[in-house]
């Protein structure tokens, strides 16, 4: 019996650890393009010079020996022949498996802007090689243009600012971090970034990068309102695509990524998928959970994914922290809102008929975790408190005989 895992990030590593906990005997082999284990969420700290590459590993140095894991690193997968249960690697090695987990993640894709593709000073921020290339291109005083003010773009912008670059952020939505924040919370970040020397353009699109089409470096970009912004390097942070290019065998069912059931099994027996490659994980904790569920089932212990909640983000940029859960805006007038805004602390709760659907907390996020549960489970809050911002887990307190906390339905 041989387990093979493609990918060594959140899902792959957690699957490997889970299999080893349940099966101390059989061989577990990881195959990864990455030649080290690292947290992509910390890459911008490397750009900023705040962390070394070793400093962004999320496992201990002896993780592979401790868990008796084999690892083929620095090599991608070229092809999988599912009927023969055999993988061909990019270096021509051939690997057989009995149970397979595909946790190959996703890759950043360039937006379809004329002149970006092929330019040597245009980068994405997804892996260590990106950081190394950005580091080589970025010297203090230069201008970096960041396309897309989502979580990755804003992390990149913060890292480059901390490194001493001039940063210009361009976002087509009307505000920074449009998926996570409302206008108030976003404008607080915009103020902070502008105070740190960044320029922010929202509600605009880039029509072309100049000079376009010669394969040379991008020297400026033109916006749809005609503005031309000079730049020395470009970071494109506009989205990712599941890494499924090596799956040429059409027997595996795909949607946005690899289709899986609640046990993370694909359309094929003994083939599982977890993490970004499923197109359904989006946030680190969910990739970890999918990896644990996949690993558990692969090792013969039945487990289902009980949590698919992805509308959960925590942001900490330039020393301002924000959490965002569920809805960012009330979808229609039937929803009510409670807000609090003073001394830089901003809070907003969106609710309807005693059920909370969205929470944004900025600068004061202490002990807010219970909100994740309340929103995810749509727990009714009855009666509605005089001050909803004072609510905490004590309102739901219930304890099991083994000392686990639970949620009392009735308050």
């Amino acid at each position: 019996m041989k387990y093979v895992i493609i990918g060594a990030s959140a899902a792959g590593i957690n699957a490997a650890q889970t299999i080893r906990k349940l099966d101390s005997q059989n061989e577990i082999l990881l195959i990864s393009k990455d030649d080290r284990v690292y947290s992509r969420c910390m890459l911008h700290h490397v750009i900023a010079g705040k962390r070394s590459l070793d400093g962004i590993s999320f496992v201990s140095p002896d993780f592979f020996t401790q868990n008796a894991l084999q690892w083929i690193k620095g090599t991608g997968v070229r092809d999988i022949r599912f009927a023969e249960r055999r993988i061909t690697l990019e270096d021509d090695q051939s690997v057989a498996y009995d149970r397979l987990l595909i946790a190959s993640g996703a890759s950043a894709s360039l937006p379809p802007i004329k002149g970006l593709a092929g330019a040597p000073n245009v980068f994405t921020l997804r892996d260590i090689s990106d950081v190394q290339r950005i580091g080589a291109a970025a010297q203090a005083g230069k201008t970096a243009l960041v396309i897309g003010a989502g979580l990755v773009g804003m992390d990149a912008a913060a890292g480059l600012l901390e490194k001493g670059l001039h940063v210009v952020i361009v976002e087509q939505a009307d505000r920074l971090l449009p998926l996570q924040l409302d206008r108030t919370a976003a404008s607080n970040y915009q103020t902070l970034f502008e105070q740190a020397g960044a320029e922010v353009y929202t509600g605009v699109t880039i029509t072309e990068a100049l000079p376009s089409g010669n394969g040379g470096p991008v020297q400026s970009v033109r916006l749809n309102d005609g503005t031309v912004i000079p730049c020395d390097l470009v970071i494109a942070a506009t989205g990712v695509r599941p890494n499924t290019g090596f799956i040429k065998d059409a027997v595996l069912t795909m949607n946005d990524g690899i289709t899986v059931d609640e046990q993370m099994q694909t359309s094929l027996p003994d083939v599982y998928a977890a993490g970004d490659v499923t197109g359904r994980s989006a946030i680190w904790p969910l990739a970890v959970k999918q990896g644990i569920v996949a690993g558990s089932n692969m090792a013969g212990t039945s487990k289902k994914l009980t949590d698919g909640f992805t509308a959960k983000n925590s942001i900490n940029l330039l020393g301002l922290e924000t959490v965002s859960l569920g809805l960012v805006h009330a979808p229609d007038p039937s929803y009510e809102q409670a807000t609090l805004n003073h001394h830089g602390v901003y809070k907003k709760i969106i609710y309807k008929d005693g059920v909370v659907h969205g929470v944004i907390l900025q600068k004061e996020i202490s002990r807010c975790g219970f909100w994740t549960q309340v929103i995810k489970e749509k727990l009714p809050i009855e009666p509605w408190p005089a001050d909803i911002f004072d609510l905490n887990y004590a309102a739901f307190y219930q304890i099991a005989p083994n000392g686990r906390y639970q949620y009392a339905r009735a308050l």
Partner: protein, 150 residues
Amino acid sequence: MKRIMIDKDRCNGCLNCSLACMAEHNPAGKSIYVLNLTDIRNESRNFIALDRSGKPTPIFCRHCGEPECVIACMSGAMSRDPATGRVTYHPEQCAACFMCVLSCPFGVLKADTAERKVIIKCDFCGERETPRCVENCPNRAIYLIEVSEE
């Protein structure tokens, strides 16, 4: 593994547990006589919150079997030791992303008040036989039990 069991009905909100926690983790020394209650850099890892009828409710880290804080941690700063069942926080590895704060289902975790850079998290009093909060509860509202958690 051991867990701090809670009998909410016996808690009268005296906060001895919180003072004990602060004293135990005070860099200036563990005696209650050197505890400076106005020092925001020394916070209790447990807290007593009032429920909706004003009844004190002890909220203490459960050192969960499948800890949401560990699952949420992308830096490796949170880990669970299967041998002891303890969920341990390593501040030097922490990237202050606060996903653990958002993910703790019971809202136990918070960032430190002074710097907002590290997490305030129960460490079960390290080498101590009995956590100091438990030792200092006059009402046995918190006490140790042995549980199997895998």
